[in-house]
């Protein structure tokens, strides 16, 4: 839960300059598209980082199972 919250905070921080900058630009109809570009990009990169973290955890679990199984087979 705290990780999700941290991710949300980071996303909001990254979008802050965009929100501030909106006062200085014309063509505000296009702003949602601009926000969408940044949101999609950050969600994708954080999603990929999350995917790698999960994969790392799965590998660690599998290594533990393999180690245990090897130890058991050596004992018998």
């Amino acid at each position: 839960m705290s990780k999700r919250l941290a991710a949300l905070v980071v996303i909001l921080i990254l979008l802050t300059p965009a929100m501030l900058g909106s006062n200085h630009t014309e063509g505000e109809d296009y702003l949602p598209f601009l926000f969408a570009v940044f949101a999609v990009t950050w969600v994708a990169f954080f999603g990929y980082a999350f995917f790698m973290t999960r994969k790392q955890a799965d590998l660690k679990r599998e290594i533990d199972i393999l180690r245990q199984s090897i130890e058991e087979s050596e004992e018998t």
Binding site: P17, L20, Y30, S69
Partner: protein, 224 residues
């Protein structure tokens, strides 16, 4: 580990700088208006995707030549990250196309060849998942990774070769001199550096993970 953290930190700092430049410093384009600011994400991501597929070629040639598992892991990691960057290039391109052209997608040469590039390397990842483990799957992937790269120069040249609604290249060897204003060039270069460092960081992480996956796979089969 320190090298990776340095890369991640540099990438974060450069991203913040890029956002500040995009929204507080670069001038607004007279023709495209605020939507032109998508350029600073869209084009660097496209170029980094090309770089990633270049790394796939290097890794694939290395694998076919030396049968090095390290090179195979490098090619796989680069392909996965290249597909991520290409996906983002396509999505950000669509988000730019809608306000400028009035449509989300059009079958123009540059867009179509970009989509083909995405299909080629997605197919590469599927081959690696479904082909037999070990040498055979790696060999299929290496051949596909090398042949698939043929599409990269085609994507870059498409707007020059065929009549296209997509603008011609404003950076790189095909760009006309002065096609970008000075401040825009600086912001673009910062963007390119930010995404390149992010790519380098992700590549190192994914490469290590891929090596660990191969090791576990080998252990599993040797134990069974």
């Amino acid at each position: 580990m320190t090298g990776r953290l340095t890369l991640l930190g540099s990438s974060g700092v450069l991203m913040m700088l890029l956002l500040a430049l995009i929204f507080l410093w670069v001038p607004t384009d007279i023709v495209l208006g605020i939507s032109q600011r998508i350029f600073y994400f869209h084009v660097p991501m496209a170029l980094v995707a090309f770089l990633a597929f270049g790394v796939v070629v290097v890794g694939s040639i290395g694998y076919l030549w030396k049968k090095s598992e390290r090179m195979d892991a490098l090619a796989y990691a680069a392909a996965e990250i290249g597909v991520l960057f290409t996906t983002l290039m396509l999505i950000t391109g669509m988000l730019w196309a809608k306000p400028v052209w009035g449509v989300w997608w059009t079958w123009s040469p540059q867009l179509t060849t970009s989509l083909i590039l995405w299909f080629i390397y997605t197919a590469y990842l599927m081959i690696r998942s479904y082909a037999p483990q070990g040498d055979q799957g790696a060999r299929y992937g290496a051949v596909m990774g090398i042949i698939g790269f043929v599409d990269v120069p085609i994507v870059y040249m498409a707007a020059k070769w065929w009549r296209d609604v997509h603008p011609e290249a404003v950076v790189g060897p095909l760009a006309d001199e002065g096609s970008l204003e000075g401040k825009m060039v600086i912001a673009f270069l910062v963007g390119l550096l930010a995404f390149t460092t992010l790519f380098a960081y992700l590549l190192m992480e994914r490469y290590t993970l891929r090596r660990q996956e191969s090791l576990v796979e080998r252990l599993r089969y040797s134990h069974v």
